[in-house]
Symmetry: C2
Subunit: 194 residues, 2 copies
């Protein structure tokens, strides 16, 4: 195997073909053979790197640039969470990327193998968001004993219901209200000062 | 048509058969013919009451007792939201009811017709929750200008991610943290006093 064959660009092609197939056909119909065809990479080569469709899909979800977004460091927890919501919105505004996310979430509800992959993905992204909360604790924006899990669940879950289920617009006011409520609480979040 | 044929018990049988089929086969494979077979009610009779599969499914989602829960009036917004989370958990703890909810949510992402039904259902339930927020405003628990939509989205979305995607346990601490965060804000929600 030459360096070129295992190089990052070829892997990116394979990941792109994998997520493309997941989005268009769903988890059931995704096959290594189909990925080989779509990416133009030999099936044997793909199997040399990943032992199964699930292993391939795990790496594609974790490492493909289409599901990656940069975390902003805005200097405040409110700013960082607002930027995070905007990045998720931006990702879901793109039809191709939205289709991949939908197929993964639908698959997670229906298939245990896909659910495990989605949980790995969520854990990975959650880990990447840790610096955001560490900075907030260091600044005194967040008490050190807060578990950020319900915060991330509420943020991501609200966007899922709003964008993927209701197909609603996420206006600036909605983002501000959502982040404001999570920051300050619903009992204090009203009024023009927020 | 006698009163007995159109009676509430027969409609309940039809609704139960409809949701049962939705849960086991999904939106695609749900047919009025199948509902007729499963409920033992003549297909012509079903078409006399509902002009299409979508109309039947809409009424089944809205009116079947399996997706209904009573709203508690505990005397505080925190208590009412905690009771609401516990009722949703209780609903999703039941495998049959969870399967119906999953099929509806999966269908909503994949089919426009199903999405419209789920949106009708969410709007209906949201409407039924209004008294909870009206009581909170009347008591002074909630500022009158708060839009409860992001609150309900965050609550329901967090439970969806936690229970349906991650298949995680919802311990008492999680419910308390989630409701506490939505009530008081994440910046104030830590510590044993909450």
């Amino acid at each position: 195997m030459t360096q070129k064959q295992g190089g990052p660009r070829r892997k990116e092609d394979i990941f792109a073909a994998t997520l493309d197939m997941l989005g268009s056909l769903g988890f059931d119909s995704l096959t290594v053979e189909g990925v080989a065809q779509r990416s133009g990479v030999n099936k044997t080569t793909i199997y040399r790197w990943w032992s199964s469709k699930s292993e391939l899909l795990r790496d594609a979800l974790l490492h493909s640039p289409i599901l990656t977004f940069d975390l902003a460091d805005t200097g405040s927890l409110r700013g960082d969470l607002t930027a995070l919501v905007e990045q998720i919105q931006h990702l879901l505004d793109d039809e191709h990327r939205r289709t991949v996310v939908e197929a993964a979430l639908v698959g997670a509800v229906r298939h245990e193998a896909m659910r495990e992959l989605v949980i790995s993905f969520l854990d990975d992204r959650f880990g990447r968001h840790q610096p955001l909360f560490e900075r907030a604790v260091a600044r005194g924006d967040l008490p050190p004993d807060v578990d950020p899990a319900p915060l991330v669940d509420a943020l991501a879950g609200a966007l899922w219901l709003r964008i993927l289920v209701r197909r609603g617009e996420v206006a600036e006011a909605y983002t501000r209200d959502l982040v404001g409520m999570l920051m300050d609480g619903v009992t204090r979040s009203a009024g023009p000062s927020h």
